[in-house]
Subunit: 230 residues, 2 copies
DNA sequence: CGAAATATGACAGTTTTATGACAGGCTGGA
DNA sequence: TCCAGCCTGTCATAAAACTGTCATATTTCG
């Protein structure tokens, strides 16, 4: 489950990118300025950032520099979107810390290729990763979940939800945070729907003896935790 | 538990904001003019102030300046609400000391994003904090309370109440101050209700060997304190 | 002792979450 | 293209959990 944050002040471009990325199986979040972007990065850390070079207010370059300066965010890969007129080479020389550049207008294929390349370089790619918690294993490469060796059949959404929980254990997430992380922002879905998916996931896990890991934190949200609370 | 003070002379706007903020998990207090605001700031220090720029009497700008001049309040982040006609740029130049500006009409999302951004900058964000007093730990990230490692189950209100006490120890609070801080102002609740919640919290803490920390100060209120008084 | 203030236990109304059912959408095949 | 079957988002409803208030004890203090 790779999450991509799209930062661009033009709604049309954001939407186009979101559409294309979603189609490729990425989860997208949008921000229309640097502030919103920072916000999104903190509440819902993406795996990669597509950043428009020109934006009103804090520009993409500034934001990139700032992110690269902060140790907490400096490993977040950034792909900068630049307009043709802006002289690629010159920009590259600016030492913004971006990991790659794409010149508008660009083809979707080209962008996707670069995204994959950057993700591969940053090691964030899904290949080969295996998450383990107790007897639960999530193999991202084969997209397979097993408990104690026994495979479990999960629907796509269940898989993403479990993946999210396993990679963010112990912390409470509100329903809307869960929606953002698992469904991607810019979807409008009833918050209660999260409950339903939680139930489905719980039922599946329970039927394999892996119960009580998804805990309800009343009036806050849910938490995935090994420590059973009494 | 982040508290936000909303200062605006129009009741409708105050209510709308209070509703939206409460929905996001903030505790809100309202004031309809600068005087009330100052009052509220002293009896119930907020973590952030939403301040209308135009108000009868002392305007938002004046109040902001005053707060920023006072060393005790100068670190309180302020977000100024301005009407469109008021020329953003000009206002920014006024050196009011506000930390950010939002132009009316604004979208709730935008406001929330800016609030989070400002809170983040001021380090007041809820994430990751862990409060400790003796063997009592409150982990805001996982929303978990433990005594000596043993988890305690608290209801939402109990959690907020304990959180408030632990972050404001060694000081007496009247029942109405407690109501303001834990329930938010603009709720109409019997003062005696505080007693009941205190009792519930005491009982829970006592059952885990953490008794006598919440002390009754007769005819004044309650105090959370390590130093047991005789 | 008597008034005032606080602690308690019980309770009913609310709020929040869990569940079961369902219909539209989508997918892969026929 | 059409169909069967799986996914999914939403509801209505049931089930829990939480809360605010009261009436009634207890305690405190002059």
């Amino acid at each position: 489950m790779v999450r991509i944050l799209v930062v661009d002040d033009e709604a049309a471009i954001r939407q186009m990118l979101a559409f294309a990325l979603t189609g490729e199986g990425y989860i997208t979040t949008e921000a229309c300025n640097a502030d919103q972007a920072q916000d999104a990065i903190h509440t819902n850390r993406p795996d990669l950032i597509l950043l428009d070079w020109m934006m009103p207010g804090l520009t993409g370059v500034d934001l990139a520099r700032r992110l690269k300066r902060n140790p907490e965010t400096k490993d977040l890969p950034i792909i900068m979107l630049t307009a043709r007129g802006e002289e690629h080479e010159k920009i590259k020389g600016l030492d913004t810390g971006a990991d790659d550049y794409v010149t508008k207008p660009f083809s979707i294929q080209e962008l996707m290729a670069r995204i994959r390349a950057v993700l591969r370089r940053s090691g964030k790619e899904k290949e080969g990763e295996i998450l383990v918690i107790d007897d639960l294993k999530i193999d991202l490469g084969t997209h397979r979940v097993t408990i104690n060796g026994q495979p479990i059949e999960l629907s796509p959404t269940e898989f993403r939800l479990l993946h999210f929980f396993v990679s963010h254990p112990e912390r409470v997430y509100s329903r809307s945070q869960i929606l953002d992380n698992v469904w991607g922002s810019n979807v409008y879905i009833e918050e209660r729907t999260v409950d339903v998916h939680i139930r489905r996931l719980r039922k599946l896990l329970a039927s394999h003896g892996f119960a009580d890991y998804i805990q309800t934190v009343r009036s806050v949200g849910y938490r995935f935790s090994k420590t059973i609370n009494e």
